[in-house]
């Protein structure tokens, strides 16, 4: 049991950095930018999260995993609040998160401000920019399906959102 006087938001952030996304387990929820705020209300820990996509089925599981991680670390009074505004964007993904995605085999999202005519989606296998979109929609709401014209490998692209 952790006493209220000893709760620090830094400690909570450290725990949240260990919680991974169930659909893309290489990313943590802090890499994704889902956690918007951590508040301590007396002896209660409040974690404010925002959904990636409105219908993302991973969100319920993420909320449960946050709760479990905090319980495991001795916190018992936990409140998870979901906010819609400002709307989540892939621009909130950390550079570390983007690197991990690429290593995992998923092409990371570009910044929203990138001029669309200059965007090159790189193949995460051979790094060729000679790739084509197979489908605007991929295995999860956040991804599109691409294929590399050089090494022929199909791959997921984490859509700019």
């Amino acid at each position: 049991m952790v006493r209220s006087s000893t709760i620090s938001t830094d400690a909570i952030w450290e725990i949240l950095e260990q919680v991974t996304d169930p659909e893309v387990p290489v990313l943590t929820i802090t890499d994704l930018g889902i956690v918007r705020d951590v508040k301590i209300n007396d002896d209660e820990v409040e974690v404010v999260i925002t959904p990636t996509y409105t219908g993302c089925p991973a969100m319920d599981m993420i909320a449960m995993n946050i709760r479990l991680a905090l319980i495991e670390n001795g916190y018992s009074k936990i409140k998870i609040t979901s906010v819609l505004s400002p709307a989540w964007t892939t621009d909130w993904m950390s550079e570390d998160g983007k690197r991990k995605l690429l290593e995992y085999g998923i092409a990371p999202p570009h910044l929203l401000s990138t001029d669309p005519s200059t965007i090159e989606i790189q193949c995460p296998q051979c790094m060729s920019s000679n790739t084509k979109c197979i489908s605007e929609f991929g295995s999860t709401a956040c991804k599109a399906l691409y294929q590399c014209n050089d090494c022929k490998e199909p791959f997921d692209y984490f859509k700019c959102h």
């Binding site: 409105t54 219908g55 819609l84 505004s85 709307a87 489908s135 605007e136 929609f137 295995s139 859509k159």
Partner: protein, 250 residues
């Protein structure tokens, strides 16, 4: 309690839920795998939007309603969705065209709703708009591909336009809760969206080499609960589990 705002929020929720339920019928039944994934991803986005609107309706009602009770325990006459959302899938051409008409309308509607005086409606609209942009792009590409495709695909698109056009007018013919919420600054005056919607559709039809129907009689009623015979069948499927096993959970 603002009944007008509740009705308006339920209307937005029902629109998204009913077209999502129609699209979901195609899960594992679409022509090819990639498009099966696409239509079900769109379905997921729409269910997510409907959940946000239902959750907010439940908060406004403050009578013990939940997102689940609003989706699963209301009967046909209480649903306020536009008729076009309940029209059967037909062939792929009709499914695509229905989605295109609906998404193009939703896009213009939510662009305005982003500026609603109601913070929650504005937040849901802003969030959803990002997803709807994809839906419009994907469905318009299909309208063009099929319209300007083979003789067979072109004829099917012409049939789809014939089947659906009469239901498109309802988007822009406001009912009382729309007029009132628009006046109060919570909702959107849908009459102002018609011209831009038609221009967008015209441009896509032109690229698809499809004729734009100039005149039509428009069916209405859905927004006030007067539906086609289709909605009862949709609800009997959608609500079966909660009606047969009240309170059942995963």
């Amino acid at each position: 309690m603002n009944q007008t705002l509740i009705d308006y929020t339920l209307h937005l929720a029902d629109n998204a839920l009913i077209i999502a339920q129609r699209n979901a019928e195609l899960c594992a039944h679409s022509p090819i795998l990639e498009q099966d994934i696409a239509i079900t991803n769109i379905t997921l986005d729409l269910i997510g939007q409907s959940r946000n609107f239902y959750q907010y309706s439940a908060v406004l009602k403050a009578d013990g309603s939940t997102e689940d009770s609003l989706a699963y325990l209301r009967d046909v006459r209480a649903f306020k969705n536009c008729l076009i959302t309940e029209i059967p899938n037909g062939d792929w051409g009709q499914t695509i065209l229905r989605q295109y008409f609906f998404s193009s309308f939703q896009f213009l509607l939510f662009q305005q709703l982003q500026h609603s005086k109601d913070e929650q409606l504005a937040a849901i609209a802003t969030k959803s708009l990002k997803e709807i942009t994809y839906h419009v792009r994907w469905s318009s590409e299909w309208v063009i591909r099929l319209g300007d495709g083979t003789e067979e695909s072109r004829n099917r698109m012409i049939k789809a336009i014939d089947a659906l056009w009469t239901y498109t007018g309802e988007f822009f013919i406001p009912v009382e809760y729309e007029t009132k919420t628009a006046l109060e600054g919570f909702g959107v005056d849908v009459t102002t969206l018609k011209k831009e919607w038609e221009e967008k559709v015209k441009a896509v039809f032109e690229e698809a080499t499809l004729a734009f129907p100039e005149k039509s009689f428009y069916q209405t009623g859905g927004k006030t609960g007067v539906h086609t015979e289709q909605l009862g069948f949709i609800l009997s499927d959608l609500q079966f589990l909660q009606r047969a096993y009240p309170g059942a959970e995963w």
